[in-house]
């Protein structure tokens, strides 16, 4: 169980403060995979870092009796100048693992990540998918009650996604996830409950479908309706889509014709 009491977090911006969380209190029950939903900049990653103990809150407390992982993201967790192996060894060292345990961790990570000789190359030379593999493999080697995952699987190929899915299944047996993603399909597959964040607020939904519904409702209300095609696409209005596409095709044809017979304004070709 993670209990959040009167949590406030803000960042200074050009004219004043931007609140990521404003006096939020809620309880995340144990043994439920939690999806964190919300628009860009709503503070999803910040929230994850605060739960992970990396980032201090401006006021309020986070109480928990569970062993929580560090936030697993693509941009953090590794020092680019060090190789994959050195980074893994660093984590083993700060946790005081002995030689055998460290070797065991390295083996698990190598097996999971499958990045071959890149394991002994500086992490700065990795592709984002490789970083994701290493990061995911590292945290899977350790036993936590709660794993914090920040958009990690979005860059993965099919093999990695399948592995991640199997790992999620595995985690469900012994702990839980707190998962930030914009891919609603993956979230629905992996999670049971949801936290919807926006404008300094955070609402907990025990059923993920309710959370997704609330998120979609919010998106609909804040949609930019100036582009007719996007509006039609989002509304699922088939007739207007067909009409707009016909118009586009006509426009494209006219453009092509113009290219084939250049008008007098363009320089003569020879």
């Amino acid at each position: 169980m993670i209990e959040i009491r009167n949590l406030t977090k803000y960042y200074p911006v050009k004219n004043g403060l931007r609140y990521v969380l404003r006096d939020v209190s809620l309880t995340i029950p144990s043994r439920t995979n939690l999806a964190i939903l919300g628009p860009n900049g709503a503070g999803k990653s910040t929230f994850l870092r605060m739960i992970g103990g990396e980032e201090p809150a401006n006021s309020g407390t986070i109480l928990t009796d569970e062993e929580i992982s560090w936030p697993l993201g693509l941009t953090s967790g590794f020092q680019g100048s060090l190789t994959g192996r050195e980074n893994i060894l660093f984590v083993c060292r700060i946790n005081g693992l002995n030689f055998d345990a460290s070797r065991y961790v390295i083996r698990l990570v190598v097996d999971f990540a499958e990045i071959g000789e890149y394991f002994d190359m500086p992490v700065s030379t990795y592709s984002s998918g490789m970083r994701g593999r290493l990061s995911f493999g590292l945290s899977m080697a350790f036993k936590f009650d709660v794993y914090l995952i920040d958009e990690l699987t979005s860059v993965g190929d099919t093999i990695f996604r399948e592995k991640a899915k199997a790992a999620f299944e595995d985690i469900r047996k012994r702990g839980s996830l707190i998962y930030v993603s914009h891919n609603l399909k993956t979230l629905r597959q992996a999670c049971q409950s949801a936290l919807f964040m926006r404008d300094g607020m955070a609402d907990f939904y025990p059923d993920i479908d309710d959370g997704i519904a609330a998120y979609k409702e919010y998106v609909r209300a804040h949609r930019n309706n100036s582009n007719p095609k996007r509006k039609a696409l989002l509304d699922g209005d088939a007739r207007s889509i067909a009409k707009l596409e016909k118009k586009e095709r006509r426009k494209a044809r006219r453009r092509r014709k113009k290219l084939e017979n250049p008008t007098d304004g363009s320089p003569p070709r020879n």
């Binding site: 990396e54 980032e55 967790g77 060292r93």
Partner: protein, 266 residues
């Protein structure tokens, strides 16, 4: 996943911090030396190059002012102590930035990145200092070992001043990006106002009085006097730089403590 994950062992906060600093120190060593072919040897080569350049430029004139000490050792001593002050100061500026990726792990606190870098500077300079002393004795230079405690004190005081400045500038760098440029310009005249090239006694009275406000002059002259007893370090003492170190270090730590939340957020 077939293999079972391993639980993270529990440690006391003190043990955790020691483990973290040890790991960061190791990381510092592997990034600093891993890329050079000379590796650890570089610790000795770098001051030698510095001293060689200065020695070629002004050595023939300057060495007349210090008949008691071979001029190369006179220079090396001053140069290494100066590096002991500027090293932690410069390394402190981007201690957090250079370890940003590792601050994800909750047990790695921002202060640990500073401590690891400072320790690295101290250990590396102490290493090259002792190697040069041993080399000197090997080549028949008269080096006194009777006052080793004074030498150690000089090194530690200089280092503490560097650490204090490193903390102050490290905190400042979190607010202003220009700090590293500013510090770079600020330390440029240090070579000339710290008695690295000339003994203080070789300067006119009025210049001496001004120079003695620089704590580095005191520690450099005192350490020379401790190693080469015939060298006179009149007018300098270790009380002034000692107090200076305590004050600067306190200011640095206070600034750090007051801004620790700002420093650990991104």
């Amino acid at each position: 996943m077939p293999a079972a994950p391993i639980p993270i062992p529990k440690h006391s906060p003190w043990t955790t911090q020691r483990l973290v600093i040890g790991a960061l120190l190791k990381r510092e060593v592997s990034t600093r030396f891993g890329e050079y072919r000379l590796g650890f040897f570089w610790l000795l080569v770098q001051p030698l190059i510095g001293v060689l350049v200065i020695g070629v430029l002004i050595g023939s004139i300057a060495q007349r002012t210090v008949p008691e000490i071979p001029y190369a050792f006179f220079l090396l001593n001053g140069y290494l102590l100066m590096n002991l002050l500027t090293g932690p100061m410069n390394k402190g500026i981007n201690a957090i930035g250079a370890n940003q990726g590792l601050l994800v792990y909750p047990s790695v606190r921002p202060l640990d990145t500073f401590i690891a870098r400072f320790l690295f500077e101290l250990l590396s300079i102490m290493f090259s200092f002792s190697v040069f002393c041993i080399l000197g004795m090997f080549f028949g230079v008269f080096i006194s070992l009777a006052n080793l405690h004074i030498v150690l004190l000089c090194l530690v005081i200089t280092w503490c001043i560097g650490c204090g400045l490193g903390l102050i500038f490290g905190v400042a760098a979190a607010y202003f990006n220009e700090v590293d440029k500013f510090v770079m310009i600020l330390q440029r005249p240090l070579l000339f106002i710290s008695a690295v090239l000339f003994p203080v006694s070789a300067l006119p009275e009025s210049a001496q009085r001004l120079l003695l406000y620089n704590p580095l002059v005191h520690t450099i002259e005192q350490s020379r006097h401790a190693i080469f007893p015939f060298y006179s370090a009149a007018g300098t003492d270790l009380i002034y730089p000692g107090v200076f170190a305590i004050v600067v270090l306190s200011i640095g730590l206070t600034l750090f403590h007051g801004n620790r939340d700002f420093l650990s957020q991104r």
